[in-house]
Every structure is written in structure tokens, then in C-alpha cells.
Symmetry: C2
């Protein structure tokens, strides 16, 4: 249903300029800030057994959206079309970067999908050199373009002066590694190879000079900084290999306090602990939110060795389109900081009462509450007005457990069939 | 052509759940992160002489998009439809906040537009209580929702402890004011009234307690912080009135170094100095970018009293959809920091050569270059090989003056009418 690109003639050239002129006039009479709008040219390929190898060869990078089969329902069809439009606009914006884009239907193209190792419907897979990077974030053109531009950058950034070191130290929200090397030797190469496996989600830095001393790094040593932690985990420099670094990262990857980011939000959300997330909402730009966040960081630092604890911090400013949805779903006021437990299967939740306007909880009070969550004393079930399944045992008239569709957690998992 | 909302029956309830389930399955099998998609329900009003008064009364806040007349060209029509869709989605997301949305056609509804004081096509005007706030930023649902949520907050934030003060001190990118008052007396009221005129673009804070001492604020004194400056401008507390504060803000408003923000990007861009902007691109998250930015801040601090100087800092991370457009238009590589002069009338530009990979310019070198720009020694015209449009004068078939829409600098300033 897409228009073909017109052959260029002078007349058409003028016509094709019009949309730009329009945008300029919609926004301002001045030049320099023209947002792109889809030009109608088809750039996204429909990948199948015949063309996938060629596509892989043709581009520096190939991005494939693995999607559910064409749905019968109109609303869902529209959704899929919108997603394709997002890909088209992304392809247009990145036209000069030698990136290919394609769609793979999980049913019609099941064979290709299997060959390429595509598994999660709704994910985008990026093929670059010999590796595959999964994107499981917000499917908007903004987020996707930023993500792909990040993938195009060098996976290791060099730090070569105190100012750059300060930049490194300020990135407390991110998981980041830094290594100290003599130069581009085999240890550095191992570090670089490892970095490619985590790009762009985990940031890798290296230094070749005395900057390392400020970090008290020894030669060939690698430090891993968990978000918001002051002290790094240390991987000593003896026999540093790619696999050792990769293993080290996996071991420390799940942070005690992690910020929800558009580029991997669904992946983070899927990484729940026993079906729940402890979620904290706080606007960093807001004095109240900032204060609450500082308390949270204290709690996280005190409990960084507890593998049972991983708090998801959401800054509502980063997700304007979800703010009112969260307010409705969780029945909380997001103009203020909040912390609660969310059941990821049904989005049922319980929130810490912080209605006393003047005082936020202290770090100790927060820790007590978190302990109650981890022990199950505070949970999302107690306040439910419908009873637990166990109460219904044998009573349910048909002997099946469907009477409480909105309540029965375990059940969803069984029906979960994303095709 | 929009569907009406179906009456609820059990069957339809299931059907209406499908889109949500779909979104959930496109993204993940878990609940809690469902992005909204337009539900097809018409919420945006077409405002005319008959309904505008009622609309103003009906809502706490009314947002009107003042747009060009329905264009004949298809591409431009589509653009206008997309803009309307952005408004529809925004209206849907903010459904529970008692905000009305409408469109005003600059031709068909010229009379209403005049009565309401709408002047700039493409701007959104927000009517709240007795004031009008113009939104001249990126017309995306994200930006618009965030902007409107900001407008709903209190215009003055209270600072009541050292942690909140730290939050205030960290907001170096924003123009912000802070006042010290005894309590909610007439001076505070004047401050509050003034704040409403600048909300949400300029942030107002107040403190009623000894937090003020850390800022060495005297009673009823107001301090104005220009972005990135350490020392505030001081408005003494004698006879503090709303108009005095407003006047004071206008006097200091244009910063020596200002960050381009989605919510007022076009307004910032229109506020050029003699038809040009000095533009610096730097990714704050990047060590190189951070370092360059620190140098820029030094230069800005040294030159804060020069009214001729206002550098626009753009962090490419904030505008992924514009990054490649800028790279093409300005012929620069935005993976690295850049600084240049841009002619806003034709987007012609000249960039400082920083190709020496190792060293960024020092503050002194940057200052020398900026001096050359301000004196006209470095300018965008010297390297032009194509001539002016003035060549086309008289050729335009209808004898109207559209041929030089894109070229004539001085002209724009005359039309400049910021009210």
C-alpha cells in the first residue's frame, strides 16, 4: 500500500520540497530545526528465505523486527502498521548510515527466524559483524534512532585526562566498566571483544595513562561499577580473557538500584524477582524526588550484597506517555515520590504510605519496609477483596480455576502464548 | 471517520481488551508498561465563534493549536492530520486531568483567533485561569504531555532542607529564581504571581526557613540564576512587587549559554542575534562532549556580561530524529563536539576546525574564535558559492513576494512580535 518513489523531474522536485517548507512554516520561519516526516518511500524489507542472506551481506548493520503474524483483529493490524511506520521513519532518518531494516513474520518466516536465532516476538534484532544485539525497548523512532547511533559508536571509550575522568564518574546511573592497559595489546583486545557483547547497554571505558592512578587501577585490572555505588567490583589483571570479563559482567549485572531506560525497559521489566518488582517513582528534577532518590541510594548502598533486592527506579519525566497510565493502574499520585511492590503478572500493587506531606521516610524506615516486602509481610495479595484460589479449592462449581481471571496470578503464565 | 465507542457488553469487553493484550504480547508477557495507542475517540474540538466561550469555561485548562488553513497539497494535509493525531493522543493520555483541546484555523477562524490573541501559526496556546502560555516546542505527544503536566504543578516549589537545596543547586541548565520569605505574605504572593507568567519555562523556588542562609539570601530578597552561572543576580527585597520581578526576569532572561530544550526549541531558535546563532553540539554523556561543555561553561562565565553573546548548546542525545538532519545540513560529524555559526535564515553555517583528534580548544582559543564571530571576521557568507534568491525577483508568476521567503535576513526582525 506504499507509494513508489517518484522519478525525479523538476516539477516533482518542487512538489517534494513542499512538505519541508510546510514543516518550516508550521514551526517557525527560520531554518535549522526541521523534524523529518515519513516521505512515503519503502525502505523496510520483508525478509524471507530467499533474501535474508543477501540482506545480511548488503549492509554494515541489519535490524530485523521479529513480529507476530498478521493479526485478524483490526486494532492489532493497525498497531503492527504503526510499528512498521516507526521502522520506516527510522530507516529514512538513518539513510546514510548503511543500516538495513526488515520485518520477519514469526509464522510465515518461521524457518528464517530459526536460522537467525530470533526468539522474542516484538523484539528488534540487530546484526552487526558476527554478533546479534537484541533491542527490547520502546518501539518509537526517537528511542530506536538513539539506540542505533549508539551501536555505531566505538564500544570502548578512551579516558585520557582528569576532565574525561570526571565525566566517567558522573555517570552513576549506568553500569560501566573501566580497564587500565599498556596500550592496544591482547588484554585490551579481550576487553574490547567483551565490550561488544554488551554494547550499548553497558558502557566500557579504558585508559592507557596515569589517569588510572586516580582510580587506583593496577595494570590490566578491570573495575565494574554498579549503578549508584561508590566502590567498584574488581577483576584482577592476571590472565584477563574475553570470557572472564563476560562472566564477571554477568555475575554483577543485576543492580540493587536500576533506572528504567526506554532502550531496554521491557527486558528490565521481565527480569523480575519472583514475579514482583519493587518500584520507586521519583523525578530527579524535583526537590522532593531528588531527596527521596538520595535516600534510596543510601538504602541500595547498604544492601548491595543482597541478591534478592533490585529496586527499579522510574523517573516519570522519562516516560510522559506512561505517567497517567501508571497513575490509573497503580492508583498513585506521581507528582510526588512513591515506592511500592508491583506484581508483574497482573500489575496489582501496594504502595508505602507517605501521605505525611512534610517528611519522607528515613533510610531506616525504608529498609524496614523493604524487609517486610522481601519477607512477604507486605505483598500485593493482602488488600485484594477477592480471596485467594486456595479458598476456592473444591468449591468452584466447575472445578476449574477461572472464576477469578483478574486475580489468579499463576494462571497467566500457563496461557502465555505470544503467538 | 472515527469509530464510536461501543456499548459495553461482555463480548465487546473481551474484544476491547484485545488491543491491550496485543501490546502486552508485542512487548512482553508482563503487565505494567503498556504504552497508549490512539483509541479512535474524537476529543479535539474544532473551535469557532460559537463554541469558544463554552470551551474556555468547561475546562480547567484549554489548549488551542493555531494552525495554517487546510492546505491544498496532500503532503501538507497529511502533516496537519498527524499534528491533529498528536493532539488527540495527548488528549486521550490526559483524559482525567480536565484539559480541553482544540484547533483554530488561522483563516476560517480568524475572528476567534484575534479575540483570543493567537498570533503564531504552529504554536499551541494554553489558557489557564486568566493567563495564556504559548508552547512553541516540538509537537510530539511526549513533549506535549510532559509540558502540560508541568503546567499543572504548582508554579513555586518550596525548598525546606539541605537535600532539597542540593537539588536546586544541581539544576544548572535551567533559569531559576529563589526567594526568601517570612511565609505566605504579600511579598510571597507577588513572587507567586510573577512565577505564573513564566511557568513552566523558568523555575521559581521559595524558602521560608534557615535554608536561605546557605544561599546568603536576605528576607524578601530574590535571586536569579542564569544557566551555568555560579553567582546569581540579586533583586533586593525592598518593595518587591510582581511587576518588578517580571521586569527583572525579562532583563536577565537571555542566557550566555542556553541549552536547547524540546519544549521551547522554536522560541529559542527564533531569538537569534542578528540572524545568527552560535551553536555548540556536545553530548554530555560522552567524555569528549563533557570536557568540551566544561570549556564552554568557562567561556560563558567569563563573558556573562556581554549582551551580544548567547551560545545555543544542543545535546544530540535529546534530539535523535534531528541528528542526521543536522549532520547533513551543517556537514559536521556529531559523534564529536562541534561549535559553529549558523545563519538561521538559510541554515548556512561555518564550523570551528577541531579535527586535531587529541586536543579540544582551550577556553582562550574558543574565546578568540567567538570574538572573530562577533566581529564578523568569521561568518557564514565567505564560503558561499551559490548566489542569493534575489536573482529570482520578478520571476514569480503571481507577482507576490514568495520567492525570497528563505533568504532575506533583516526582514524577519521587523515582523518580530512576541506578544
Amino acid at each position: 500500500p506504499h507509494k513508489k518513489a517518484p522519478k525525479v523531474s523538476m516539477q516533482l522536485l518542487w512538489l517534494s520540497l513542499l512538505p519541508c517548507l510546510y514543516l518550516a512554516s508550521l514551526c517557525s520561519a527560520e531554518q535549522g530545526l526541521e523534524f523529518p516526516s515519513f516521505d512515503g518511500k519503502d525502505r523496510v524489507l520483508h525478509i524471507n528465505e530467499r533474501n535474508y542472506k543477501k540482506a545480511l551481506k548488503m549492509f554494515d548493520m541489519l535490524c530485523l523486527l521479529y513480529h507476530e503474524p498478521q493479526p485478524a483483529h483490526k486494532g492489532r493490524q493497525k498497531q503492527l502498521q504503526m510499528t512498521e511506520l516507526v521502522l520506516e521513519l527510522t530507516a529514512q532518518v538513518l539513510e546514510d548510515k548503511d543500516i538495513g531494516f526488515g520485518m520477519v513474520d514469526s509464522q510465515k518466516d518461521a524457518k528464517v527466524a530459526k536460522k537467525l536465532g530470533l526468539e522474542e516476538e516484538g523484539s528488534l534484532y540487530v546484526f552487526k559483524d558476527d554478533r546479534v544485539i537484541e533491542f527490547d525497548g520502546e518501539l518509537s523512532a526517537d528511542t530506536l534512532v538513539e539506540f542505533l547511533l549508539d551501536v555505531l559508536e566505538d564500544p570502548v571509550e578512551l579516558i585520557s585526562n582528569p576532565m574525561e575522568l570526571r565525566a566517567f564518574e558522573r555517570m552513576e546511573e549506568d553500569i560501566r566498566l573501566i580497564g587500565y592497559f599498556k596500550g592496544e595489546d591482547s588484554y585490551y583486545k579481550a576487553f574490547q571483544e567483551a565490550s561488544e557483547r554488551f554494547q550499548p547497554y553497558i558502557k566500557f571505558f579504558a585508559t592507557f595513562d596515569k589517569t588510572a592512578k586516580h582510580l587506583s587501577l593496577k595494570m590490566n585490572e578491570v573495575n565494574f561499577y554498579e549503578p549508584f555505588m561508590e566502590e567498584p567490583a574488581i577483576l584482577p589483571g592476571r590472565q584477563l580473557s574475553e570470557m572472564e570479563i563476560v562472566e564477571f559482567v554477568h555475575q554483577h549485572k543485576r543492580a540493587t538500584l536500576r533506572k528504567l531506560r526506554a532502550e531496554d525497559m521491557f527486558e528490565t521489566w521481565e527480569d523480575d524477582l519472583d514475579g514482583i518488582h519493587i518500584v520507586a517513582f521519583a523525578e530527579e528534577e524535583d526537590p522532593d524526588g531528588y531527596e527521596f532518590l538520595e535516600i534510596l541510594k543510601d538504602v541500595a548502598r547498604d544492601n548491595t550484597n543482597n541478591p534478592e533486592l533490585s529496586i527499579v527506579w522510574i523517573d516519570p519525566d522519562d516516560f510522559p506517555l506512561l505517567t497517567t497510565y501508571w497513575e490509573k493502574t497503580f492508583k498513585v499520585n506521581l507528582f510526588k515520590p512513591q515506592i511500592g511492590v508491583v506484581n508483574v503478572t497482573d500489575a496489582d500493587s501496594v504502595w508505602l504510605d507517605m501521605s505525611n506531606d512534610e517528611d519522607l521516610p528515613t533510610a531506616e524506615e525504608l529498609e524496614d519496609w523493604i524487609e517486610d516486602v522481601l519477607s512477604g509481610k507486605v505483598n500485593t495479595e493482602d488488600d485484594d477483596d477477592v480471596k485467594d484460589d486456595s479458598d476456592y479449592d473444591g468449591v468452584d462449581s466447575e472445578g476449574r480455576h477461572h472464576s477469578d481471571d483478574h486475580d489468579d496470578h499463576g494462571d497467566y503464565d500457563d496461557h502465555d502464548d505470544s503467538d
